[in-house]
Symmetry: C2
Subunit: 193 residues, 2 copies
DNA sequence: GTCTATAAGATGATAGAC
DNA sequence: GTCTATCATCTTATAGAC
């Protein structure tokens, strides 16, 4: 494993725990086991580091969504799996979605980073929208508003729940959202089995 | 208007725009029109300032909710008004809910501040839960999960939407959430008029 | 690639005059 | 209450040896 990767791993963990602004090159270097000059060798400025962090995070979610689509054909199964993966990722209420952190600090980040954050939201919402539409086609979901609108709402609820989960030290929140959303999408349906 | 109040006003605006960590006593003092030593006179440490900010913000929301309950008797009307006030408060996609910011930086805030953040979530969620229950009683809402669970989901969606609103420079997100939530709560209902 | 050393500036905070 | 002056510390970042 390369030093650059180890730096990104530690930086991601620190950022998710404390926020980007609270991560210093000194702390980061100490935890990686190198000197801060070495961090600068791999990531010249803090903006470079933050951007690399955001890109990697977004791509990881892209992979997760692709895997879900490959393994699961039903829209309901896909949504359930998405929620389950997120719940597992944030089960320890000590860290928060990296992009939620960046979005909160969006007033003081670089333009390139802001684009990356925006893309993260757009990608996830588009996938959710497609999945909802598929669910309607498969006659398992009933939407109360158009798919795009519902998708935005669901993803907002997910991000908000991850944030609240740590703030309230209550790891059940993501499951609450998952339960509520799924029940709402299936409202009016009668169980077959 | 006292200096302390002016400091809080400016600090709140700066914090909502840039994040708490990115607000310095120097910038704050400059914008208020005093020297940083004066800020320290009113708020000895940065923790004191942050705590005062959070308490004031929470109390303001308390007042808003009380006003809504006083003016409006129907649960649906109350919920609509709540969403409308929030949408108006965050219509300029330049600022974010103060508590969302604090929640994102929760890994590096004082214990007292963390309690305040937690209380903000709890208060709003409890009010939402009561309002949902009232709506069921008034036969205007149908819940797909129990009131507490739905309330947590709705508030998570609200906080997430405010965050996404700025990150995506898309002020329609809070309205999306409001539309989707209200439609979902009234699903299966037939309009009377 | 990693280190030592250091620059140049910002930060929270305090002492003491007015 | 507000100021000037100052402190110790931390910050990002760079130059140059190994």
């Amino acid at each position: 494993m390369s030093t650059a990767d180890r730096i990104l791993d530690v930086a991601e963990a620190l950022c998710q725990r404390r926020g980007l602004e609270a991560v210093s090159f000194r702390d980061l270097a100490a935890e990686v086991g190198v000197k801060s000059a070495s961090i600068h060798y791999h990531f010249p400025s803090k903006s470079d580091l933050a951007l690399a962090l955001a890109i990697r995070y977004r791509q990881r979610f892209e992979t997760v969504r692709s895997e879900i689509d490959r393994k699961e054909q039903s829209a309901e199964g896909r949504l359930k799996r998405f929620f389950a993966i997120l719940a597992d990722l944030y089960k320890e209420p000590n860290k928060v979605c990296l992009v939620a952190i960046l979005a909160a600090e969006a007033g003081s980040i670089s333009p390139e980073l802001a684009i990356e954050v925006r893309k993260f939201f757009a990608d996830n919402e588009q996938w959710l929208s497609s999945t909802l539409t598929l669910g309607v086609k498969q006659k398992t979901f009933t939407l109360s508003t158009e798919a795009d609108c519902t998708a935005k709402t669901i993803f907002a609820a997910v991000e908000g729940a991850i944030l609240a989960s740590r703030a309230c030290a209550d790891s059940s929140r993501l499951r609450s959202v998952a339960d509520c959303v799924l029940a709402s999408l299936k409202q009016g349906k009668v169980a077959i089995g």
